[in-house]
Amino acid sequence: MAIYSTNEFKAGLKVMLDNDPCAIIDNEFVKPGKGQAFNRVKIRNLKTGRVIERTFKSGESLEGADVVDVEMQYLYNDGEFRHFMVQDTFEQYQADSKIVGDANLWLKDQDFCTITLWNDTPLAVTPANFVELQIIETDPGIRGDTSGGGGKPAKLETGAVVRVPLFVQQDEVIKVDTRTAEYISRVKD
């Protein structure tokens, strides 16, 4: 794997730090006029999601991390693992609930999502920004309400619960932003 020096650190670069794959978020050059130059680096641990700050002597280097994002189709859940497939190659990957994390709230069979692979092993699962899911449980709406104000909880087919306007009914399919877990609109067939 390539070696990257502090002056090559920029947002998005994937490197190994403390044996974990990490992504650089920000890199600031800090140098007292007459002193040692440092790079103050903001970095996200891709395993834990935690963001930390770490200072390096300018010119130090880190090993690159073999981390890639691959679009895959979600196939099924066998109880222990969820299974995904790369469309072009039919290559399949499996990920346990720890790796799938909150993405499981939005994964519907056949839907596409992004799998982050580290050394060809799934590291994280990111659902599509927008998904369309059916409501399986919600209170009946109050007649005449079309404003979208207020709202009520609605349980979706994947188990996620989102707030929807009062006029949205059970069994309807809605579009949701997975980044904020917010209702966007009804989906007409």
Binding site: N7, F29, K31, G33, Q36, E53, T55
Partner: protein
Amino acid sequence: MLNSWQPACSSTQLHQRAQLFQQIRAFFAERQVLEVETPLLGHGSGTDPHLDFFTTTYNAPSTPATLYLQTSPEFAMKRLVAAGSGDIYQLCKAFRNNESGRFHNPEFTLLEWYRVGFNLTMLMDEVDELFAHMFHLQPLNPSQRLRYQDVFYHYTQLDPLHFCYASYCDYASSHKIAEAISLCQHSHSLWLDFIFSHKVQPHLGSHALCMVYDYPACQAALARLNPAEPRCAERVELFINGIELGNGYFELTQANEQRQRFEQDRQYRQTYNLPTLALDERFLAALTAGLPDCSGMAIGLDRVLMVLTNMHCIDDVLAFPVSRA
């Protein structure tokens, strides 16, 4: 690439810069300080281990020679003072390799001046007047003068003049900079650079000029040591809004001591595999001939413009930062 022929900064910035230069020239003209020019390209350069220089080859008539782009005009200006020039100032470019970032461009503009017979207090008085002059349209809060030891202790409860490795390590561990331990090891000066730049400097000079003086002797650079407190050097640094703007000394005039410091720098460079260079014998000869007691200050004008115009990045005040140069 399509737009990269255009300047990075606005045309307002060009005017601000021109105005700043005019103000500075008027300030020194009124005080009868002479404007001078010294070479950007010289046979020697500073030996400061933390300054990386650009080199080029001069195809001289007899034998080709290595020349250096100056990291500061300091040595040449001191040679003028030693030759009897009296008070002098210069607005010039300086070059430092491997420096780029929000506050750094490898080529930048310096104001540097020397005042014969000034001690550090007199120099700080003049710096105060200069900043009042440069910021007269948007006055700063009252300026502060803080001793390095006091301000360091205030923010860290550590004594910068006494290197206690164990307490420095404890501090690093409990203040989210544990990497300092392996990075700085047993180098007092490196620890001071790390802790000062991360934990002290960001607090200095809230829309005010903050002058930090009496630097620890291990960071004396080209300043003389304080005779009353030899653990301190007569060096001052300037900060506004946590940004380092300038550096000044009650200048070291002893040729022998200067030669020793050069040798120390050279050894450090050898130990850490940094490029070495010949000592600037012309500068040392000037000190031997006699540099009168004087104080000198260098101020980074691009950063002054950043503060004057509230810009976030040095590129915002440069017509053509290195990426467009």
